[in-house]
Symmetry: C2
Subunit: 250 residues, 2 copies
């Protein structure tokens, strides 16, 4: 095995169908260990040489797998220290999942005031959004969020009860994704948002203290765990007189 490629499942693909590089197989294995909670958020994982010898591949292959994972914010690499499983701490949420920013001033984590939390059966729209059967058990949560001391977001969050057993009876923190990961092993890895301008309805107008009909930014988010499960449906209505939503195109 001096230079040259190992003969493994990855090489020679006479069928012509899928060809999976070795480093992707390694990546999948490592992601699985995080998804399974074998390596916990905030903790260091074994060093590159350790993983390489354990799996019988070269350090370069492990490196490539970890580099991809770092690019997806699954791990954090710190030169001289080690590679750590990423945490959903406030800083990360702010950077990765929270796009609403005061017009003048830096990003900050919004305060939350809980309005209601209730277990219920999914109606048709909810079931479709979460990929569940109509009538499946879900937990709905409503809250109002403030930025720079001003109420500006009304939020309705719905999650499958099956993924978060007993969540309705819990104390709910401001940062929900950290709770999902730490208490339920559901690590949110990506989300997709759809934005629209809408007129405030009676409910939103009341919660936000604006006149009905006021233009609001409606943000419709679907969040996925790192192993691909649909984890959350969230709709936010936001007053954008003094804040805006940022989107970087690159």
């Amino acid at each position: 095995m001096s230079g040259g490629q190992r003969s493994s499942a990855a090489t020679t693909d006479p069928g012509g169908l899928g060809f999976r590089p070795l480093y992707r197989q390694v990546r999948e294995l490592l992601v699985q260990r995080i998804a399974d909670g074998l390596w916990a958020p905030g903790q260091p994982i074994p060093s590159e040489p350790e993983i390489a010898s354990e799996l019988g591949v070269s350090q370069g292959t492990v490196r490539k797998a970890l580099d991809e994972m770092a690019g997806e914010n699954l791990v954090v690499r710190r030169q001289g220290r080690g590679t750590y499983v990423a945490r959903h701490d406030d800083a990360r949420i702010l950077f990765q999942f929270f796009r609403i920013v005061p017009d003048s001033g830096a990003k900050e984590f919004p305060d939350s005031r809980l309005i209601e939390v209730a277990g219920e059966a999914a109606d048709e729209e909810t079931a479709a959004a979460l990929g569940l059967a109509p009538g499946a058990a879900v937990v709905r949560l409503e809250r109002v969020r403030s930025l720079a001391g001003e109420v500006c977001i009304a939020e309705r969050i719905v999650v499958p009860a099956a993924l978060f057993p007993g969540i309705a009876e819990r104390e709910l923190p401001n940062n929900l994704y950290e709770l999902y990961a730490a208490q339920f092993g559901v690590v949110v890895g990506r989300a997709s948002e759809k934005l629209r301008a809408v007129a405030a309805g009676a409910r939103e107008a009341e919660l936000l203290g604006v006149a009905a009909g006021t233009p609001l930014l409606r943000v419709d988010r679907t969040a996925f765990s790192i192993d691909g499960k649909l984890a959350e449906w969230r709709v936010s209505w936001c007053r954008t007189e003094r804040v805006h939503y940022v989107s970087d195109l690159r």
Copy 2:
């Protein structure tokens, strides 16, 4: 020079200040060649071994530079064929810079109807947005765009006249970024958007055929060329009854 690191400007940094890896220096050089138009959009660049021997570095280092550039959509790599300078064709614009999508149905390139184009002096707001001195020469362009046959976007675009000499006298295509690159050597590499919900003013209401006061999604875009120059300021007002803006968080 058998294995081990070359002794170059990159190694040994006793000052402790900036340390620039070799592959970043290579990357900068290659980006410059694209920005200077030495390698034109759509054309293949020399192969990895050619570049490596020209610059006296290993192929792996060139590869790492090109991989970064591919990640920023500056080049496109095609296995078995070569590496090409990325073009601002419709498909890329749609993928990278156009986020408004019909509620049901796939992404499509919007039609444009030009309303007005005029050279003028930058007012204070425009100057601030484009990083120019107030009174600097700019070109303003207004148009209305349709998706799936329905008028849904009113757009005001302002560019510095200095970067685009004579643009006001030209025929203006639907895809402006391709024109910027091909005719003026301004390659747009990234953009930043700020989104708000606003009530339609008289002007937008007229252009879009809605009642004044209708909630509209206002998208405020600042676009930068790959060498970092502020290239365009664009404000779009969008009806979002049947379309929405997508934003992927990952």
